[in-house]
């Protein structure tokens, strides 16, 4: 007699998705609890259901989508700029031992500087429009990415490089078949961190001095004391970050495919 399949509940309980959802439910439950007990003012922390209601109404408004679009483009542009610059600088710096030893500590020290102190300069130079957010986001995201590129490229197995050279690889081809794929996991890690920082910088920039975007909407809602709206926008920013982060898996997968061809 064949074994009957496990009940659907048991299979679901073992899955990662279920565990993840469980945590999410727990968070919402705590949130609900905090608001119902009444120790916290519902003005400061509105109940989940109220926020959900506002979230739905916010999501039916055209302003939200144009703000979302602006912010998304700013973040992607900032990360692309940071990534491009980090590759252009990080690959040669990491490739040669001398430049790595000379510049890696310098970059690491610069990375520790809180760039937010320079935001007024960005706003003055690039205006309070989207350009200043892109530049500020790029500057913030640049350091984790360039540090990842440098350390990833520097860690390339010397014997793989010799092997590729013996097979006739030179110049950029040599980098393409050795250092880049070898450093890719580390670079992707740096880009993930860069994405987080770019999101922070862009939304923060819009929040501090902006005319458009999610950060601007957040700031406006806050200034108008519409806390439910603030939470709805926070939720939306969270979703945006999740979507952008998930796009990375696809990027890595694609780059692997291209390299192997």
């Amino acid at each position: 007699m064949s074994r009957s399949p496990a009940p659907i509940g048991a299979r679901l309980a073992g899955s990662r998705v279920f565990i993840g959802l469980l945590l999410l439910c727990a968070c919402v439950a705590v949130w609900q609890l905090v608001t119902t007990v009444g120790s916290v003012s519902s003005f400061l922390v509105p109940p989940p259901a109220a926020v959900a209601g506002v979230f739905v109404s916010v999501m039916t408004s055209g302003t939200t989508y144009s703000a979302l679009g602006i912010t998304m483009v700013e973040i992607v542009a900032a990360l692309a700029l940071a990534g491009g610059l980090a590759l252009a600088i990080g690959v040669p710096v990491g490739w040669y031992r001398l430049t790595q030893q000379a510049y890696e500590p310098l970059l690491a020290n610069l990375a520790a500087v809180p760039l937010v102190i320079l935001y007024p300069v960005f706003a003055v130079v690039f205006g309070i429009g989207p350009l200043s957010k892109v530049m500020f986001g790029a500057a913030t995201a640049f350091f984790p990415v360039v540090l990842a590129v440098v350390s990833g490229v520097a860690a390339t197995n010397e014997s793989l490089v010799a092997s590729a050279r013996s097979m006739g690889a030179r110049g950029l081809t040599l980098l393409r078949v050795t250092a880049i794929p070898s450093a890719l996991p580390v670079i992707v890690g740096g880009l993930r961190l860069g994405l987080t920082l770019a999101t922070l910088a862009v939304v923060g920039g819009e929040f501090i001095a902006g005319t458009r975007g999610l950060g601007y909407l957040l700031a406006s809602a806050g200034e108008a004391f519409e806390t439910r709206k603030v939470y709805a926008y926070v939720l939306l920013t969270l979703l945006l970050a999740i979507v952008l982060n998930s796009a990375f898996g696809l990027l890595v997968w694609l780059s692997r495919k291209v390299e192997e061809r």
């Binding site: 197995n157 014997s159 793989l160 010799a162 092997s163 590729a164 050279r165 013996s166 097979m167 006739g168 690889a169 081809t173 078949v177 050795t178 794929p181 070898s182 890719l184 692997r256 390299e259 192997e260």
Partner: protein, 298 residues
């Protein structure tokens, strides 16, 4: 059987050509030692003259790894470099492969001075196999042809032939980490063979393997290479391996390495497992050990 490539550039060798009589002599005999001097052979493939190689230490100092080395390798000949640990064998081999620039002296391959890697003439097998961990076994072999811009269709065909030749056809889609040490080693050999180079430089290709695997692979390699008819320069630590595989053994001195002695190995070919422990082989092995021991006392 070697794969053929009609579009191949550079040095061509004919598999039908008879093996040079000298090094492949079948006469039984005692080891012949001769003073270190470049031997002149009619079909000379590699010629090294007064080669010196230096490298820079991280602290800025310069170390002379190879000093005044001269020898030549004939077509189809199997020459082994043996010497004390860290004596500069690898530096010498890397200079032959055009991977490092000599400090002095000349290296010629097929009459052409070596100025850099010569992927059409020389294939290299590294001590740690140097397999790309992000590429499958197939892609690891194929890259040798990709870098030479061989058309995709031909590339695929030759890659599979090379994998079959070393018995890895079944695992073509596995990644190196999914293969055993012996399989990784054969994969590295397949990559070296696929490009049809006339010359193979092997840097302790069995160094990372256990005793049993290296003996089995040694026999397989010698059979494979004999059928492929390549010219081979081989670096090893194992005296037994050196005697079993070589036509000629260059015994190197301690750093900076010079050629201390040249030992001919006139054992008959093809060599099978039974030759591993032949009386003549043992005598040559003993002679090699004597030379290396003498060097270690110096």
């Amino acid at each position: 059987m070697a794969v053929t490539d009609p579009d191949r550039e550079g040095w061509e060798r004919s598999d039908a050509a008879p093996k040079p009589a000298g090094p492949r002599a079948t006469a039984e005999g005692s080891p012949v030692t001769s003073p270190p001097q470049p031997s002149l052979r009619s079909s000379e493939v590699i010629r090294v003259e007064h080669l010196a190689v230096s490298y820079h230490r991280p602290d800025g100092g310069e170390v002379r790894a190879v000093e005044d080395v001269s020898f030549s390798v004939g077509e189809g000949e199997f020459v082994t470099l043996i010497g004390p640990s860290g004596c500069g064998k690898t530096s010498l081999l890397r200079a032959l492969g055009g991977l490092i620039t000599p400090a002095a002296g000349r290296i010629q391959v097929n009459g052409v001075p070596v100025r850099g890697p010569m992927p059409d003439a020389i294939a290299y097998v590294f001590q740690d196999f140097a397999l790309f961990p992000w590429r499958t076994a197939r892609a690891n072999v194929e890259i040798a042809l990709q870098l030479k811009r061989v058309p995709r269709k031909e590339r695929r065909k030759r890659t599979l032939e090379a994998l079959d030749m070393v018995g890895l056809g079944e695992v073509a889609d596995r990644f190196p980490r999914e293969l055993s040490g012996g399989m990784q080693q054969r994969l590295a050999v397949a990559r070296a063979l696929v490009s049809n180079c006339g010359i193979l430089l092997l840097d302790e290709p069995f160094g990372a393997l256990d005793e049993q695997t290296r003996l089995v692979l040694g026999v397989q390699l010698s059979q494979l290479l004999e059928s492929a008819g390549r010219t081979i320069v081989f670096v090893t630590h194992s005296l037994q391996e050196a005697v079993f595989l070589s036509d000629r053994i260059l015994v190197l001195s301690r750093q900076p390495c010079r050629i201390k002695e040249t030992v001919e190995v006139p054992l008959p070919r093809p060599r099978g497992p039974e030759q591993m422990k032949s009386a003549d082989g043992q005598r040559i092995e003993a002679e090699l050990f004597r030379l290396l021991y003498e060097e270690s006392l110096r």
